[in-house]
C-alpha cells in the first residue's frame, strides 16, 4: 500500500495530496475517493480518521486521495488569505487530478464538517460530477459554527491554564476570542468568516438534480434544516444521536472513525 505524493493545483494555489492506491492483495475496483477535510482544529483531530478511511478503502480496492486545501495543513499558503470559494476550486482541482490519475470518472467524495460543505458546493459546480457524495456532519448553520469555534477556543485555553474561562477573564490572562481572528490555532480572515456566516441549510437538492447520489449524516436537531426533496431515490439522510466533537485536544473516547462513516463510504460502492 505505498502512498504517493501528488502535487495539486495551479502553482499559485499549490496543494499537497497523498494518493493511497488499492491494496495489491484485493481486486481493484473502478472507483476512487477524494476525502475533503474539515478546517483548522477539526482537520487536526480528524487526521487519523482520514488515514483510517483511506486504508479501509484501499482494502476495498479503491484508490483514495486526501489532501490539504491551499493555505492549510501541509500545503503552501497563508490561511488568513483563504476563502471557501477558493477552497471549492481546490476540490475541483483535486477531482480533475484524480480523474487523470485513475483514468476513469467513477469518483466518490467524502467530506467531514466544513469539508462536507466545500464538497457539496464543488459537486454542484463540477464540470464532471462526482458519482456520490458522502457528507459527514456538514455545517448547516454558520452562526452555530462560529459559536462552537469560540466556545471551543475558550474551553481549550482555559484547560491549558487549569482554570475556568471565567477565571481566565477575571485575571485578564487572555483576551475574549472573536472572528475574524485567531481561534483555536487557526487565523480566520474576514472573507472566510463572512462566507461561513452565510451558511444556512444545505442545498442538497441541487446536487440531486445533477444526478449525484448523496448520503448525509447529520444530528437529529439539524435534520429539518436540510433541503431534501420527498422520496428522492438518490438521497439518503442518516440521523446521528451524538454529534462528533473535533474541537478539543482531549481524547474524548470517541472512536477514531465514526462506525457509520466507514459503512457509508463502503456501502456506496455497490
Amino acid at each position: 500500500m505505498t502512498l504517493s505524493v501528488v502535487e495539486l493545483g495551479r502553482p499559485e494555489r499549490a496543494m499537497m495530496g497523498l494518493l493511497q492506491p488499492p491494496d495489491s492483495s484485493v481486486p481493484t475496483r473502478q472507483a476512487a475517493f477524494i476525502l475533503c477535510r474539515p478546517l483548522g482544529v477539526e482537520a487536526v483531530r480528524t487526521s487519523a480518521m482520514f488515514r483510517a478511511l483511506s486504508e479501509r478503502l484501499a482494502r476495498e480496492g479503491c484508490a483514495t486521495l486526501r489532501f490539504d486545501y491551499h493555505g492549510t495543513g501541509d500545503s503552501a499558503g497563508d490561511e488568513r488569505e483563504q476563502t471557501m470559494a477558493a477552497w471549492v476550486t481546490d476540490v475541483l482541482a483535486a477531482h480533475d487530478a484524480v480523474c487523470r490519475i485513475v483514468g476513469h470518472d467513477n469518483i466518490h467524495w467524502f467530506g467531514a464538517g466544513l469539508g462536507g460543505n466545500l464538497a457539496l458546493k464543488a459537486a454542484i459546480r463540477a464540470r464532471l460530477s462526482p458519482r456520490r457524495l458522502v457528507l459527514w456532519e456538514p455545517v448547516t448553520d454558520g452562526g452555530e459554527l462560529e459559536a462552537r469555534l469560540l466556545e471551543g477556543h475558550r474551553d481549550e485555553v482555559a484547560f491549558g491554564r487549569e482554570l475556568t474561562w471565567q477565571e481566565v477573564r477575571r485575571r485578564e490572562l487572555e483576551p475574549e476570542p472573536s472572528l475574524p481572528g485567531w481561534v483555536l490555532g487557526f487565523d480566520y480572515g474576514q472573507a472566510l468568516v463572512d462566507e461561513m456566516r452565510q451558511i444556512r441549510g444545505l442545498p442538497l437538492s441541487q446536487a440531486a438534480r445533477r444526478g449525484i447520489a448523496v448520503y448525509c449524516a447529520i444530528s437529529d436537531a439539524e435534520r429539518d434544516r436540510l433541503d431534501v426533496p420527498d422520496g428522492d431515490p438518490v438521497m439518503q439522510i442518516e440521523s446521528l444521536s451524538d454529534a462528533s466533537n473535533w474541537m478539543t485536544s482531549r481524547v474524548t473516547g470517541q472512536p477514531l472513525v465514526p462506525p457509520g462513516a466507514l459503512r457509508a463510504v463502503v456501502s456506496g460502492l455497490g
Partner: protein
Amino acid sequence: MRERTLTFGAGGRLVGTLTVPDDWDAVPQRYTALLSNSGVIPRVGWGRVNVRIARRFAALGIASMRFDMSGLGDSAGADSGLSAARQWVEDTRAAMDAATESIGSRRFLMVGLCSGADIAYLTALEDARLEAAVLWDLCCYPTRKARIRAVLRRLRRIGFSALKRVPGAMIGYIRRRAGPASSGKSEESEGFYGRTEMPSREEFVPLIARLVERRVALLFGYSGSAPRWFNYREQFADMFSDSGWLDQVSWEYLPDCDHLHTQRRSQQLFNDWVEAWVRSHVLNRQ
C-alpha cells in the same frame, strides 16, 4: 524556500515534508530540524505550529523535515512488533536518512513537543547525528516548593473556606507517603500530560548526562499549562540541582505559553524563544 512532501522509510509508509531554504547549498552549517508529532497531533502541529517553525527556520538557513511517525497523521502503522517509543525512534532515524538522501543533510536538531520531546532525547541517545534538541514539556518532577505553590494556588481558586477539608487531605497524603514503596517511578510524574510511562528522576538524570557528555545542546522548556507540576522559574534548577549537568543545558519556564500553543501569542513567544536559542547555541557550534 521550497517545500516538498515525500514518503520514506520501509515500504514508503512514512510521510514527511521537507522545507528547504533557497540558499541551502550555500549555508555552511547546513542544519536540518526535525519536527514531528505531539501526542496524536499530525506533523503540521496544533495550529500549524510546526509549519510556522519550519518556515521561520528556513529564513535562518535551516532546512526542516516535519514528519509523521508510524501510525500517526498520514503515516501507516508499523508491523515491526516494536514498542511505540522504540518504533518512533527508528522512524526519526529514518527521517534523518531521508533528509540526507534528499538534500544532503548531515547535522540535525529536533524540536520535540510533549511526547515528541521524549522521542527527541531517546533518539539523541542513539544517534550522533542529532546534535541539539528543544524539549518542550518533557519530564517533570515537582519539588516541595512546587507542591506547596500548587496547593496554595488551588486554595486561592476554590476559596479558603475549603481549608476545613485540609486535615483530611493531609492524612491521606501522609498515608500515601507511608505506604509501600513504589516501583521507583515518581508518583507525581505519572500522568504529566497524559504520559503513562516516564523515567524516574534517578533514571532520567544519567540519560541526560550522557547527552551532555556528548555535547548535545539541550533546551528544556515548560509551559504554564500544568501548574500542579511546574509552577516557578527556578523549578528546573531545583529539580536537577545535583545532576552535575545543570550548567551545561538551557532551560526556561514560559508561563504565558500554553502546552499546545493554541493562542497566537503562545506560538510567537515559543518560536522567538526557540529561534534565539538556536542562533546562540546551535548555529555557532563547531
